[in-house]
């Protein structure tokens, strides 16, 4: 698979949306991710509480600096509303690339969606 598939997953919290990315994220496939994420962020922004976007990357097999740029752009739009961008279950290659760019220091990274829900709820972010 050399392209990215995007799926919205149900969330049990009204200020939170979950996107699942499958495949490889580069300059080409990042356009689809940006469009889908911005649509969800617009919807979350209408909900009142600071928006949380979770991106399940457990089946993302590759990311380059263009893919990271797409995450950085979404991080910035969420932070404008005091929101959070949450990365779920990155594989080692993907986690390493986020690490190299210093992005793992600004994004929240969790091992699975349940853990993310639990910890963010504990912080009263959700």
């Amino acid at each position: 698979v050399t392209n990215v598939e995007i799926k919205s997953l149900p969330s049990m919290f009204e200020n939170c949306a979950v996107l699942k990315l499958t495949g490889e994220l580069d300059l080409h496939s990042a356009e689809k991710f940006k469009a889908a994420a911005e649509e969800l962020i617009d919807w979350l922004n209408s909900r009142g509480k600071p928006p949380i976007l979770m991106v399940d990357v457990s089946d993302m097999t590759f990311i380059d600096s263009s893919g990271l740029g797409a995450f950085l752009g979404r991080y910035r739009s969420l932070r404008l509303k005091n929101g959070e961008l949450v990365l779920i279950a990155p594989r080692p290659q993907v986690a390493n690339t986020f690490e190299l760019a210093g992005l793992s220091r600004v994004l929240r990274v969790y091992e699975n969606i349940d853990e993310a829900f639990l910890l963010l709820k504990g912080e009263q972010v959700l």
Binding site: T2, E24, L27, H28, F62, D64, L72, T97
Partner: protein
Amino acid sequence: MTATAVMDKLRRNLEKRDLDNYLFVQASAKAENIAVLRVLAASFAATLDFTLPEIDELKGAISEAVTNVVVHAYPEIKEQGLVSITAGIKDGSVLFVVSDDGIGIDDIDRARDPSYTSKPGEHMGLGFAFMESFMDEVHVESTPSRGTSVYLLKSPAGAGERTGREGAGKPAGH
């Protein structure tokens, strides 16, 4: 031998076509071809004894080099420019040359600086930093309005140890 010396040797081998294996591919400098080229390059390199993480690094470096061509090389050309990859394998190392006939790079040192991007916004300026991190050696040659060639060298990290332990020319056991 240092990575720089291996790079120089492979560049001479490539010029003379004195190689164990050779690849040349040319494609439109379009975003959808970035995946095509990194997968092809990784498959070519996988004929050597690279580990899977090393192949991922190679894919990453090729993706960055080709992305630079797609984003920067042909800003004023309405019809699509071309990107080519020439690759050679010799004595267990692989050299990739990612080339274009585009506008060239005015200041190569500035382009390689990780804090610099000519297109602020969502371009992070990390392309060369990633290439340097993923490969053993990176060399850039560019002539304004003639084009740019990026040379990327990689050897399997465990090749020396395995050769020493198991005898030259024998593949590592799996």
